[in-house]
């Protein structure tokens, strides 16, 4: 087969064109550029919102529908990006000119990694709530989304962990009370085990939930010590943390933690196992409040693969006093997620309108609050329980209300004070202690090493 070039010059010209064309294409494809996007109109346009949450796209669409009642000319497209893919997806998207206009941020590693691509929303918050805007929003939510004086995202809701949710029907069936100490917890688990029911389940293969349990145990050993260590004011290789890890190990050896926990993921494994009634207790936080309602519980059971199942009432309980020192293990929390406006957005004004409505308007926050997925951050807004239907209102209404009231007064951070290296070290420490390949003291020493290394890298 021949190529139809008559002369060497023609061939060279073609070659040069081809190379230039390919190089041009490559440049266009690869160039991220650092250009600032345009402001555009504040009341019209199309904006793209990317987030790992709401995990239920119906929830996001409900928010958008409510927003559109007030701003009908701003079209919002929500794209759910799985949390396991979020970092991998967002880095190239935000570096390009075709990324989202609005995106989710979480305190801690996400703020550190993606906060630089976001607008400083301090002035937006000020224009929405006035100069004293900080006093009108839950402070714990604002702190975690701020970095070097820049408000990288405005918080939609806050989330609190360190609590356990239990299947009230199973406890009633075996005439059990929620355990308040480690010994009671072991006895409860023995009763469940003797009846062929799983007791407590946790996805110990994933870092965040291990950290929740460790922080809850630590708060039982010495309240506030975890936060001090997170702030660098106390050591991780201390007797307190070694004791925390010893108790963590005890959960595995005494039959409280489910078998194979180190290979289980909180979502979907443990969540599905709890919702299908295989386990009586699960380590979940305030985001689990939504499953106290008839609608969300029914939807969740369907997602867990239980067709036609009858929703059962779930109730929150405080983490037991596992250290036996009489310390109540308080919850801890952060902004669940905040909405950031991408600096490169070509519709920044419309994006800011949406973010302001979601985070700083009573209407937006009321819609958020009523979903019970995340706790609204705007002070004065709380779930309207007249419109929310619990699975068992008489049983759940009181405890769930109290739980949310307690959560709103929490002032201890969950993830905001730790970077991803230390969080990774928590996973390694938790797993190595649980599997017996490290002693609690040895694992505590690795936590301090990770903290020292992170400090040296700053």
């Amino acid at each position: 087969m021949r190529f139809p070039f008559k002369s060497k010059t023609a061939l060279r010209s073609f070659a040069a064109l081809a190379v230039a064309g390919m190089a041009g294409l490559g440049l266009v494809a690869c160039s991220g550029g650092n250009n600032q996007g345009a402001a555009g109109s504040a009341t019209s346009g199309t904006i793209n919102w990317w987030g790992w949450t709401p995990t239920n796209t119906n929830e996001a669409n409900d928010f958008i529908a409510a927003f559109n009642k007030q701003y009908p000319n701003i079209k919002v497209n929500y794209k759910l990006v799985g949390i396991s893919d979020y970092q991998a997806s967002m880095r190239p998207a935000l570096a390009s000119n075709n990324g989202p206009d609005v995106y989710d941020l979480q305190p801690g590693a996400y703020v550190q990694q993606f906060g630089s691509y976001a607008e400083d929303l301090s002035s937006t918050a000020q224009s929405a709530l006035g100069s004293d805007w900080k006093s009108k929003i839950s402070s714990i939510a604002v702190d975690g989304l701020s970095s070097n004086g820049k408000l990288t995202a405005m918080p939609v809701g806050s989330t609190y962990a360190g609590s356990i949710w239990y299947n009230a029907d199973l406890f009633k069936k075996y005439n059990l009370q929620p355990p308040k100490t480690l010994d009671e917890w072991k006895q409860v688990c023995q009763t469940f085990a003797s009846n062929g029911v799983g007791c407590f389940a946790q996805g110990a293969a994933q870092e965040g939930f291990d950290q929740d349990t460790l922080q809850a145990i630590s708060n039982s050993v010495e309240p506030g010590y975890w936060t001090k260590a997170s702030q660098g004011q106390a050591k991780w290789n201390s007797p307190q943390i070694a004791q925390t890890l010893s108790i963590w190990k005890d959960l595995f050896t005494s039959g409280i933690m489910q078998k194979g926990a180190l290979g289980a993921q909180q979502y979907p494994d443990v969540n599905n196992a709890f919702l299908t009634g295989k386990y009586a207790m699960v380590m979940m936080g305030s985001w689990y409040t939504q499953y106290a309602t008839q609608n969300s519980m029914t939807q969740a059971l369907g997602s867990a693969g239980v067709a036609g199942a009858k929703p059962f009432p779930i109730l929150p309980m405080q983490f037991p006093d596992v250290a036996g020192k009489g310390n109540t293990s308080e919850m801890f929390g952060d902004a669940d997620y905040g909405l950031a406006v991408a600096s490169k957005s070509k519709n920044r004004a419309a994006a800011e309108t949406f973010v302001k409505w979601m985070t700083a308007s009573t209407n937006g926050q009321q819609v958020v609050a009523n979903r019970l997925d995340t706790t609204s951050v705007l002070k004065g807004v709380s779930p309207d329980f007249n419109t929310i239907k619990f699975v068992d209102p008489a049983l759940q209404s009181g405890p769930v209300n109290d739980y949310l009231k307690n959560a709103s007064s929490v002032d201890e951070h969950r993830f905001a004070l730790l970077n991803s290296d230390i969080e990774n070290a928590f996973l390694a420490a938790a797993q190595s202690v649980a599997s017996g390949s490290a002693t609690p003291q040895g694992a505590a020493a690795t936590l301090q090493q990770a903290a020292d290394a992170a400090k040296a890298n700053q």
């Binding site: 190529f3 070039f5 194979g260 290979g263 390694a428």
Partner: protein
């Protein structure tokens, strides 16, 4: 070697019309140009860029990365997780290659024995090759969970004492990953051996039979030596596959528990994406590239030497 009439004619025509070099250039270069530009422009450029960022302390986003020279490589040499990943890769390669080879040869021999329903068996053996790991991973997570079907089967067989949380403990998680990989890729090994066996001259086997060789003797002394080329190719593919292993350990065990199923691919992902140590991840990637090249060259040379004997 004989030269065909058309080739002779082409050469004769070429010698009288134009200089031969120009003709080759005119007819060949434009065809390879797009691939050349893509290859050099994308692949080699990316390798060069990865080498560059492997000398940085960079999170992949900040505008002012810090140059650290060879520090990332030095740190890797002291990194216990890296050495764990290397060790897992080596074990993984040896076990999966040996088992897949043995099963592939056995299945191929059986299928050449004119058994009934051979086509059905071939399909069954090959189907795992075309199933995406992302689809199968949740299935295996379920099967090997503490209360999963594998333990259930063991209990029903009266082997309940062997039940384990297979993917929830360090001692059994890597064997599970290897078993899944063997299940997935034995079909390909089988197909290649099946095709290679079809190429063996039947007269060798008939001669061996006349000399009184039994089945095992024929397999060991006639068939197996004739499969050497296929085995070397599979060895190279397995070695590179082991170095690139990512999907199964990541989707089934998230490289855990406690790094017990950590591989170079998963560690690069963790470092680069999850922990934002892009420079460190790039250095790991370059090491992976060098190891893959060295391994491929060694296997090629070893295979060629044996074939030349």
């Amino acid at each position: 070697m004989t030269v065909s009439t058309s080739e002779r004619l082409t050469r004769a025509v070429g010698s009288t019309s134009r200089p031969r070099g120009r003709r080759l250039q005119a007819s060949g270069l434009p065809w390879i140009l797009p691939a050349l530009v893509l290859g050099v422009g994308l692949i080699y450029y990316c390798i060069g860029y990865t080498v560059y960022i492997s000398g940085l302390n960079w999170d992949g986003a900040s505008p002012d990365p810090l140059s650290v020279g060879f520090k990332n490589y030095l740190n890797i040499s002291h990194d216990p997780v890296f050495w764990k990943a290397v060790w897992h890769t080596a074990i993984f390669f040896v076990v999966t290659f040996v088992v897949q080879t043995a099963l592939g040869v056995i299945f191929a021999v059986i299928m050449h024995s004119r058994i009934k329903l051979a086509m059905l068996y071939k399909v069954i053996i090959f189907v795992p090759v075309v199933l995406a790991p992302a689809i199968m991973a949740p299935v295996f997570r379920q099967i090997f969970a503490a209360n999963g079907q594998f333990n259930s089967v063991l209990s029903h067989l009266g082997l309940g004492f062997l039940a384990q949380p297979w993917i929830g403990q360090e001692s059994t998680s890597l064997p599970v990953i290897m078993a899944i990989t063997i299940w997935q890729w034995t079909g390909l090994t089988f197909v290649l051996y099946y095709a290679a066996m079809s190429q063996i001259d039947q007269t060798y086997i008939e001669a061996a039979r006349i000399d009184g060789a039994g089945n095992l003797r024929v397999l060991w002394s006639i068939i197996w030596p004739n499969l050497r080329g296929t085995t070397v190719s599979l060895g190279i593919l397995s070695a590179i596959g082991a170095l690139k292993t990512f999907d199964v350990p990541w989707l089934v065990t998230i490289a855990g528990p406690n790094n017990s199923t950590q591989f170079l691919g998963t560690y690069i992902y963790q470092m680069t994406i999850q922990l934002a140590h892009v420079g460190y991840g790039a250095a790991l990637s370059i090491i992976l590239l060098v190891v893959a090249l060295v391994m491929a060259i060694i296997l090629q040379v070893v295979g060629r030497e044996k074939a030349d004997r």
